[in-house]
């Protein structure tokens, strides 16, 4: 039941580019790990394109749209236009902020519900998990941080840490904006070391966590004194900005511990934070901490000594050789022999976003009812995901979601008895029931569209094989496939399905013909989505 019980599988420990056979198994694995729910067609395309071209496409960032106004209490920006760089009204800014938050939330969920072959949204969620910032005072500030995560998601880690350090939402979240020389606040300073950069090692002495000390936390707090934020809900400034208040800055020399070579950080005003982060990043092997997190995000929870001494160590070498650029690390990882080793398939239990969007995205299901209704549907999904334990913008704490750090359970924390019960209820709701009702429209899994996109929709055996290929990283037993097929054919001989499907395609707009086909496919998905085999990637 726990890692101890895993018979140490022998798998490749090499970052050498994978050169084995490239079939739907490898292609689907790559897309499942880097996207939220590849379609059958995307998997076929990746098979045809090969690994290099598919990875290149995944690592290309799409041009993203912007959140648009859709609620009437937005007083500044017209309906359908973006508010991300608009001022707030002098009177009634809070209702405008509510409108913007609604728009932002809907847009964040919509971003995941895209057909684009790109790693961007998986990385955006990764950085949300890494920095753990909760939503802050001003919707524009939250958008700006999300935009930073998206645009920088494959760029320079050191620069991202610097940018996040002065990000207004982060300054507000970890009390960087109330960190004064008269009384330093350690909140950000501690997490910068413990959670964002070097990470906490074993406690080797009083206040000494191997990679940093309590004295470093105190010194860091002093280094970071003097920052504040201006422009929250401003009626003149188009976005909140960090402001350096020299009189609140501690100008004394701050000496770091031996873990940072005893470096002295002298007063450098508003550049001192950057000097400090440079000093942090000078620590040998600093990249290992973020490499471990990327590994757990994309590969497996189990950092065995072997994985540590090979994969993590080599990823760190790549990160440092590239001056902390993230892209080369991820490229090496998702092209590696290790990544494609079949014993590392299905090792991650889906987080709630992966759970929902593996259902929606893989079935080409997205709401198409206009801005208002679509947005409200996406907000509903946001709350569904929250009910399953994952709320975009607000991880449970600054360390991110427990499934990414809490030994020994890790991603199994997404699958407690209570959550599994809820997942089952959501599956029923979104497949065989009528789905999310907004303004007279309904959004649910589009079983018919999914079915029509398969290789031979009129062949019952092939329908089930294709479906399993899309949703199950390690296939499905013969008996479970027969169970699914019996739901598709309604326990009739296979040729009856062929007839039923052909009748439907001959007259596709006839509900009397399409409804039974759709409903039978919904029964298949309803059953499959409740199986353990669906729950991993």
């Amino acid at each position: 039941m726990i890692p101890d019980e895993v018979i140490e599988p022998s798998f490749s420990l090499s970052l050498t580019p994978y050169s084995g056979t490239w079939t739907k198994d490898q292609a689907a694995h790559l897309l499942r790990r880097t996207m939220f729910g590849p379609t059958f067609a995307q998997i076929q395309q990746a098979v045809a394109d090969g690994m290099d071209a598919t990875v290149a496409q995944l690592l290309t960032l799409p041009i993203t749209d912007l959140p648009l106004t859709y609620l009437p209490n937005e007083l500044i920006v017209p309906f359908g236009e973006t508010w991300v760089d608009a001022v707030y009204p002098t009177i009634g800014p809070s209702q405008v902020d509510d409108a913007r938050r609604g728009s932002l939330t809907a847009w964040m969920i919509k971003r995941i519900n895209q057909p684009t072959v790109s790693i961007q949204e998986k990385m955006c969620l990764f950085w949300n998990n890494h920095f753990g910032v909760e939503e802050s005072f001003d919707a524009r500030a939250i958008f700006n941080l999300m935009d930073l995560y998206r645009s920088s998601c494959l760029r320079n880690f050191k620069q991202l840490v610097k940018d996040v350090t002065l990000d207004p939402s982060m300054l507000a979240f970890l009390n960087g904006h109330t960190n004064f020389q008269s009384s330093p606040n350690e909140n950000y300073s501690r997490e910068l070391l413990e959670l964002f950069t070097v990470g906490k090692g074993p406690q080797v002495g009083p206040g000494d966590y191997s990679n940093y000390t309590e004295a470093d936390v105190a010194a860091g707090a002093k280094i970071l004194t003097g920052w504040s934020v201006q422009g929250w809900w401003s009626d003149t400034l188009t976005s909140p900005q960090p402001v350096f208040v020299a009189s609140e800055h501690d100008t004394s020399d701050k000496t770091l511990s031996s873990h940072f070579g005893g470096v002295v950080i002298s007063n450098a005003g508003d550049q001192e934070y950057a000097n400090y982060i440079d000093a942090i990043f000078a620590q040998p092997n600093i990249g290992k901490f973020i490499c471990r997190k990327l590994y757990r995000w994309f590969v497996n929870y189990d950092l065995t000594p072997d994985v540590e001494s090979t994969i993590i160590s080599e990823l760190n070498t790549i990160l440092e050789a590239n001056n902390f650029e993230v892209l080369p690390v991820i490229e090496a990882l998702i092209k590696s022999e290790h990544f494609y080793d079949s014993s590392l398939r299905g090792t991650i239990i889906k987080n709630p976003m992966e759970f929902f969007f593996s259902m929606f995205n893989a079935t080409n299901s997205s709401p198409n009812f206009g801005l208002v209704t679509n947005s409200e549907m996406y907000i509903r999904i946001y709350y569904f995901s929250r009910a399953l334990g994952m709320t975009y913008f607000t991880p449970p704490n600054v360390g991110g979601w427990t499934a990414y750090y809490q030994a020994p359970s890790f991603s199994r924390l997404w699958a407690s008895t209570g959550y599994l019960n809820l997942r089952s209820n959501f599956v029923t709701y979104l497949t065989v029931n009528s789905g999310i009702p907004i303004n007279g429209e309904f959004f649910k899994v589009n079983a018919l569209s999914f079915l029509n996109g398969l290789s031979q929709p009129d062949n019952a055996v092939q329908v089930i094989d294709d479906t399993v290929e899309v949703f199950c990283p390690n296939g499905l037993s013969v008996s479970n496939k027969l169970l699914l097929k019996s739901l598709l054919t309604n326990n009739l001989p296979d040729f009856e399905w062929t007839t039923e499907y052909s009748n439907y395609t001959a007259d596709p707009l006839n509900n009397l013909l399409s409804d039974p086909v759709r409903q039978q496919m919904e029964q298949v998905l309803n059953c499959l989505f409740k199986m353990p085999e669906f729950q991993t990637i």
């Binding site: 039941m1 019980e5 009384s183 330093p184 909140n187 966590y209 334990g389």
Partner: protein, 519 residues
């Protein structure tokens, strides 16, 4: 609210407590519950996790250090005259009236300066240490998980079964508690609303030894457990009741504890419940304004805890479950002595820990912390009592675990301290501690025994009902110095609650007993 609960609430408000007890309680609840807690099997432990690191110095204020606290935390310190005084040197935050009353009723125990050597100020690492009870970072089993592993080594294989149909532990909410992580699986099942029925599609999965195979087996097991344990929880919830009117629906902790009372009263044999309250990481806005330091985030949190615990204890009393249930709070650390400039406090070291129930051993354990008159950068409260000793003592006193087994569960040499042993006298004939009175069994049938210490003196013992009417005149005579067991025959007086009063020149005592029909 379930219709049956509603009827019971009406009944509660219209008649006196003893009549209420007589009227429905013994019909509604299995008689099993009214056996004296002879064995640890019947006992329940409630853990309340204060997530984020509770500021102990604002929770339990050391009055003899008050002048120096003014130096350390001028903006957030609550004026002395607003505090709830417990004794000459200790006072609670003003919002903690519920727990203050429990203290006065002898149902609240406070252990001061609890922590561990070389405090780790990371939330995550420290919560791991508190959950596992281990300092070794490689340790992943929880302290309660190890205790349960000792008793049910094959979990989760073959569980639930006919002998153990109910979850061993319940974690309220969606996440299992790390305290219950066993070698093979986590012993806690999650419950959000015990009235929810589960009907998940089951599957059988073999573990082929891969990570994936291990996940498949895990998911199949969880689905089966969700159904089986869900059904048991659901049945208990429907069979149970809650009686206290003190629960506040807007207090999430009170809602969780009411569900717990519902499940216990419904006969669920779960031994451990974990409830959670978040938000104690008060780096800022711990108090609203320096002018009103008794208001703010921390006050709201403490009020939630105090109100919820008091309502729960009230409920246990009304349900006659008090002797079966004890509770304990824990938090990953206390906070620094000096406040920061954000009207908050940063991560610190040791802090007080609360135990509650009628079986607590003593009221305040450990001396007050010493507060310096100088602000020392980053100073916390030094640890005096190791939390692992508290855990070990709870396992010994409450679950009657074998001390040798307990020692084997921890890394350091255990120093047992009495924490929850005052109901054990009927169990293992311990000597009566100090000048106190013990009545056993309690609840009782027609017979019970009063154990007391006396000097060479005249002693009068009477039993009165809740309307102060004399029911049994037990005795009025001279006793020699020493320990005495006085048998009492209650005869056929109505079932319900009564007060036993022991009057003697060296001190009077009043104890509550519960008479039940069947025992």
């Amino acid at each position: 609210m379930k219709r049956r609960n509603f009827i019971q609430s009406v009944a509660l408000s219209s008649v006196g407590a003893p009549l209420l007890l007589k009227d429905f309680k013994f019909g509604a609840i299995t008689k099993e519950l009214f056996k004296v807690s002879r064995t640890a099997e019947d006992r329940v432990l409630i853990l309340i996790r204060l997530n984020g690191g509770n500021d102990g110095l604002s929770t339990l204020v050391p009055l003899d250090q008050y002048d120096n606290l003014v130096i350390q935390r001028p903006d957030i310190l609550i004026p002395e005259n607003q505090l709830i005084t417990l004794n000459a040197t200790n006072a609670l935050h003003p919002v903690m009236t519920g727990m203050g009353n429990m203290f006065n009723d002898g149902k609240l125990s406070i252990i001061q300066n609890v922590g561990y050597p070389e405090q780790n100020r990371s939330h995550f690492r420290s919560m791991d240490i508190w959950s596992t009870g281990l300092m070794d970072p490689a340790g992943t089993t929880g302290w309660l998980g190890r205790h349960l592993d000792n008793n049910f080594p094959n979990f989760p294989d073959d569980y639930p079964n006919a002998s153990y149909p109910d979850p061993f532990a319940i974690s309220m909410g969606y996440e299992v508690s790390s305290t219950c992580q066993g070698l093979m699986a986590n012993f806690s099942t999650t419950v959000v609303d015990p009235f929810d029925a589960f009907n998940l599609q089951e599957s059988s999965q073999l573990n082929d030894g891969t990570y994936y195979g291990s996940h498949m087996e895990y998911l199949a097991t969880m689905i089966a457990q969700a159904n089986d344990y869900g059904a048991a929880v659901n049945a208990a919830a429907n069979n149970g009741s809650t009686l206290s009117t003190m629960y506040d629906d807007n207090n999430p902790l009170a809602v969780q504890l009411r569900y717990v009372a519902q499940m216990i009263s419904g006969g669920l044999q779960t031994k451990i419940y974990i409830v959670n309250i978040n938000g104690f990481d008060t780096h800022d806005s711990q108090v609203e304004d320096p002018g009103t330091p008794a208001l703010g985030d921390h006050a709201n949190l403490l009020k939630s805890v105090s109100d919820a615990v008091a309502a729960f204890q009230d409920d246990l009393n009304l349900l006659s479950l008090e002797q079966r249930v004890a509770g304990m709070t824990f938090s990953e650390f206390g906070r620094q002595v000096a406040a920061n400039a954000s009207l908050g406090t940063d991560h610190g070291d040791a802090a007080p820990l609360f135990l509650f129930g009628t079986c607590i051993s003593s009221q305040i354990i450990g001396p007050n912390p010493v507060i310096s008159d100088q602000i020392v950068d980053q100073a916390g409260i030094p640890m005096q009592i190791d939390f692992r000793d508290v855990y070990a003592s709870v396992l010994k006193d409450w679950f009657q675990a074998d001390p040798t087994d307990i020692q084997a569960m921890f890394e350091h040499t255990i120093n047992f301290i009495p924490v929850l042993d005052s109901c054990n006298l009927g169990i293992n004939e311990n000597k009566l501690a100090g000048e106190d009175v013990i009545i056993f069994p309690n609840p009782c049938g027609e017979q019970t025994t009063i154990r007391m210490n006396s000097k060479n003196e005249e002693v009068t013992i009477q039993i009165r009902d809740m309307f102060n009417r004399l029911v049994v005149d037990v005795c009025s005579k001279s006793f020699t110095e020493g320990l005495h067991d006085i048998p009492v025959t209650l005869g056929d007086i109505p079932s319900g609650e009564y007060l036993v009063t022991v009057m003697k020149p060296s001190g009077n005592f009043t104890k509550r007993i519960v008479k039940v029909k069947h025992i």
